[in-house]
Symmetry: C2
Subunit: 603 residues, 2 copies
């Protein structure tokens, strides 16, 4: 596929750095093998190339429209999604008993990555629907599962998350949507929801909305929030479609990017009430939703990475083709121009992108593997192991979401720069990637929220158990790297900066009693970026270890270059990127409260 992803790199991540084949040793995944995975990759690569990529620019240019209360989307989107559904992929990660393929999440996330590199907007629909299915699988009762889960897994129904309202975005405690209990056990919902991706369309037979609402009399704040299944079209007990529910399209949001994913204002119950079904216990809606949200955060991170990745590959291809100028040593103006990839500054821009794109991918897939390890452990009844994996994923989730959003966007900015003026035109896709990627720091918890989550919750939770576990994992890698002499410089760099991070964290925590929690959290966003860089440095060290060990047995020149490129990019990251965390860590270690104390009249 032209310039969207690198199959060699994906194989490196899956089979060499991670060990997806080892997952197949487990009871859960025993039926699978590399052969199956590769066949699926072939299939997905072909679908992405033939059906997803060709309309990516088109759906941006001609975004979904609101016509007579309906959403009109260019037909190419449905054609691609129909093929996706036809292939059975919506069921990929679900258990056999649910009609699924029971594939490792590591593999399904890799497949999702391929689709997203080709067309991030269109691939958002199945991603959301997968989350909804997973939520109903986890918390829905038998009846709810039989009505809604099967068609979601079959891809006949799509799903949405209805959390935000115009007045309540980051502050979900303030939602106003009400759910009035009915005699038959159902509820009637009334309220308006904002920023609903995939809220209305004709891409699927039905749309299942997961709606946060308050039951009258519930307590104020998040403990009063419950979660409801609200179908666009009601589903009869036999599974057939019934009457239209009272769910209407309020309008479309017109975004800067990500335009192919229709984003809507949804009105529930404008004509009496939308029928909804309570999931699990009342008042626990937000905690249930967070399962989906956390899953979505990993996917958002992988989406951000996919944009960085394709931007990198596009600019790399352009840099090899485009000729401009001469080397600084060449003083003969009549000599032939060289490819811009030969100019050091362009190389630097490519290396920077490579380090972000491949580093982000390594992180996203690492998280996916944790999900698998957790499922394998649960399946095997190893609760302690399952708990550990949960703790590890907990602390990595805000990083996995925010780091690729921050640095993937930076990568896309640089991809434009490599193209020069051409990159600034809509004739080339890099400006679109840049517009698309700007979303990722906003949805599924803003960057500020991720920072608070990391520093205010994940670092300290269970007496620091998540943080300790993460450090143990990182230390294992460092110990391994110490066995390889050529990685000494990288090991020294990461150890030095990890120590600074740990020391800073300790100093910040020790000041909580004096300065208070607000001061502790004042620069949480800076902490998030710094922590993320340390984590991705670890991801690069892991890749460098593998590459160094594989280098001697490289099967050909291309493979040798591939491994050497990995090793050199690790070195780049340690030298050019990681040291940038030093200044913010120094600032953080002082629990600086200038921003908090700044008098707003001074703006």
């Amino acid at each position: 596929m032209p310039h969207t992803f690198n199959r060699r790199d994906l194989a490196f991540q899956l089979y060499e750095v991670l060990d997806v084949e080892k997952l197949c040793d487990s009871l859960r995944y025993q039926d699978h093998s590399k052969e199956i995975f590769e066949t699926l990759m072939d299939l997905v690569e072909r679908m992405a190339e033939e059906l997803f990529q060709p309309h990516a620019a088109m759906v941006d240019e001609k975004e979904p429209e609101f016509v007579d209360g309906r959403v009109v989307i260019i037909p190419e989107v449905k054609k691609a999604l129909d093929a996706y559904i036809e292939s059975g992929l919506p069921a990929a990660s679900f258990e056999y008993e649910l009609g699924g393929m029971q594939l490792p999440h590591l593999v399904t996330h890799a497949l999702g990555f391929i689709f997203a590199t080709a067309n991030v907007s269109t691939s958002a629909y199945p991603m959301l629907s997968h989350g909804v299915a997973n939520l109903i699988r986890a918390f829905g009762n038998k009846q709810q599962q039989s009505k809604f889960l099967k068609p979601l897994i079959e891809g006949r129904f799509f799903g949405t998350m209805c959390l935000s309202e115009t007045q309540a975005g980051s502050s979900l405690a303030d939602i106003k949507t009400k759910a009035e209990p009915q005699d038959d056990g159902s509820y009637l919902l009334q309220g308006n929801k904002m920023w609903i991706s995939g809220g209305e369309h004709d891409l699927s037979e039905n749309i299942i909305h997961m709606v946060l609402a308050k039951i009258p009399g519930a307590q104020a704040g998040i403990k009063g929030i419950s979660l409801f299944i609200v179908p666009k079209i009601r589903v009869n007990d036999d599974g057939s479609l019934g009457e239209r529910n009272d769910v209407t399209l309020g309008g479309l949001n017109h975004k800067m990017g990500y335009r192919g994913t229709v984003n809507t204002v949804m009105n529930f119950g404008e004509n009496g009430g939308a029928v909804g079904y309570l999931m699990g216990e009342a008042g626990k809606g937000l905690s249930y939703m967070f399962q989906m949200m956390n899953e979505a955060r990993i996917s958002v991170g992988i989406g951000a990475t996919s944009l960085a990745y394709t931007g990198y590959l596009h600019s790399l291809a352009y840099a090899k083709e485009r000729k401009q100028g001469r080397s600084l040593e060449d003083r003969d103006p009549s000599s032939a121009m060289i490819a811009i990839i030969e100019h050091t500054d362009v190389k630097r821009m490519l290396l920077q992108q490579k380090s972000y794109a491949e580093g982000g991918l390594a992180l996203g897939l690492y998280c996916a593997e944790i999900i698998d390890k957790k499922l394998i452990a649960s399946h095997a009844g190893d609760n302690e192991m399952a708990k550990q994996q949960t703790l590890l994923l907990d602390i990595l989730t805000p990083i996995a979401k925010s780091w690729p959003s921050e640095f993937g966007l930076r990568a896309n900015e640089i991809a434009i720069q490599v193209y020069g003026g051409y990159g600034y035109t809509r004739d080339y896709p890099v400006e679109r990637f840049y517009r698309d990627n700007r979303l990722n720091h906003i949805h599924e918890g803003t960057k500020g929220i991720q920072g608070l989550d990391l520093l205010g919750r994940k670092i300290t939770q269970h007496d620091g158990a998540s943080a300790k576990l993460l450090m143990t994992e990182i230390m294992k890698t460092i110990a391994q790297a110490k066995q390889i002499e050529s990685l000494t410089a990288c090991v020294n760099d990461i150890e030095y900066h990890l120590n600074a991070l740990l020391k800073t964290t300790g100093m910040m925590q020790s000041e909580i009693p004096n300065k208070g929690i607000s001061a502790y959290l004042a620069n949480a966003t800076l902490y998030l970026d710094a922590f993320g860089h340390a984590v991705v440095a670890w991801m690069w060290l892991r890749q460098a270890i593998t590459a160094t060990m594989k280098l001697p047995e490289a099967i050909n020149e291309a493979d040798k270059n591939f491994y050497q490129g990995k090793i050199n990019t690790c070195r780049y990251f340690m030298t050019y990127e990681l040291p940038n965390i030093k200044a913010p860590l120094a600032l953080l270690s002082q629990t600086d409260t200038q921003c908090m104390d700044f008098d707003v009249e001074g703006f």
Copy 2:
């Protein structure tokens, strides 16, 4: 005007930090006064608000179109520009004898800034035309001046810069456009030019293209390039318009942002040859053009700043209005929500923007004042002083262009974040500012080119004379700041980082004999950013000194808050921003060549 600029801050920069009134002591500007400047500001503020801002979103939505060989632009653009021309402002900076107002460049740049905050696209037309007029003023002969300069100054003609060709962007040495000498002393030009802003439109009676071309037989490279005046419509000796020249519109470039400024492909001489007139000497075209380019670079920087500035003010207003969540101490979910400006992370994002926007403005206006000082000195026959101002402007130009392009874009990225999901929609202007600002690192010399210019030329030229002069100026400010006890921390910070910058520069230069010039320049872009941060820290120190001195005599609470805000923002810049240069300087001091040495097969 709603949220586009802050008149109080502009007055602070012009009358308190800089001293525009003192310029009026000179022979050149003796007729002017603060009263005149303020009257002009009033006029421009009103025009910007009533005629420029209202169509800024509209011209982005409905960009110029190519219809039957012509460019169709929404009528609001011409209406605004007609009013601008009617006001006489195109003549603002020109000398009396040319029919100008002979206003200080400091003032005209401030006026340009106001227009750009309201509508950066529409205000680009006069900016370009001003540059063309200035070029003809400097290098055109009598006849050329009488034919083309007067109507440009009157605003009847607009102008363009025709440098790039599809195969020659950064590498202008490789242009192919040919200029064949004719018996009457004119030339016939043939060739295609790319990225021509304002290349075709009906906004003015005529368009004067400044075209770089090669005369057959000229030597290879930049020494073979000459500069030609090529009018869209030929001008008769009596000044009346003659026949259409052989200049045709090849097509439009469709950009991500800055859409209101039509960007064209221009074909010269497709039907025999476009009549052009050689400016100055053959072979010196590029050096002439560089006068315009350097002027344009200051304007590009101010344009980038204007986008950062308006984005900052928009997000500030939004943050004051938008209510969301509660303080971290408030555990009562039924309490009222607070304005998001009260959240520390939002405050930090506003402070960051403020430091970039107002720091960028201070830098742009400082450069404008240097232009005035140079003109005053020339006027007074003080050649030594004029030369010094040239040297100072030389070294600041790449910074003035690139720093606001880099950090202004970052500011616009953050403005979107303050708005959250709303900022990502086209219902709010911040996403447009972000798209607009992405251009600024590309045109008028890419960021890479600016880095090479700074490190490879400006730092070392005339035995380091420019660099020494700049350091002398910075040291003067530091000496002044040392008299103010409350600024001690800021002084220490800037001294520390300046020393690091100087030491790094010295170490890099000392390695040239060993490692070569390519290694020396390998990380020029990182050097550019670091150098820029040091320069803007200086700009903040200058503002803090003035604010500290003025604070005791503040006339009211608002003024007091304004000064205190400046002082606190200086502190923010020194603490949160300046230390970020430490890591890149450490890298630079080692003349690291990883990127240069990276084997392209490893990508």
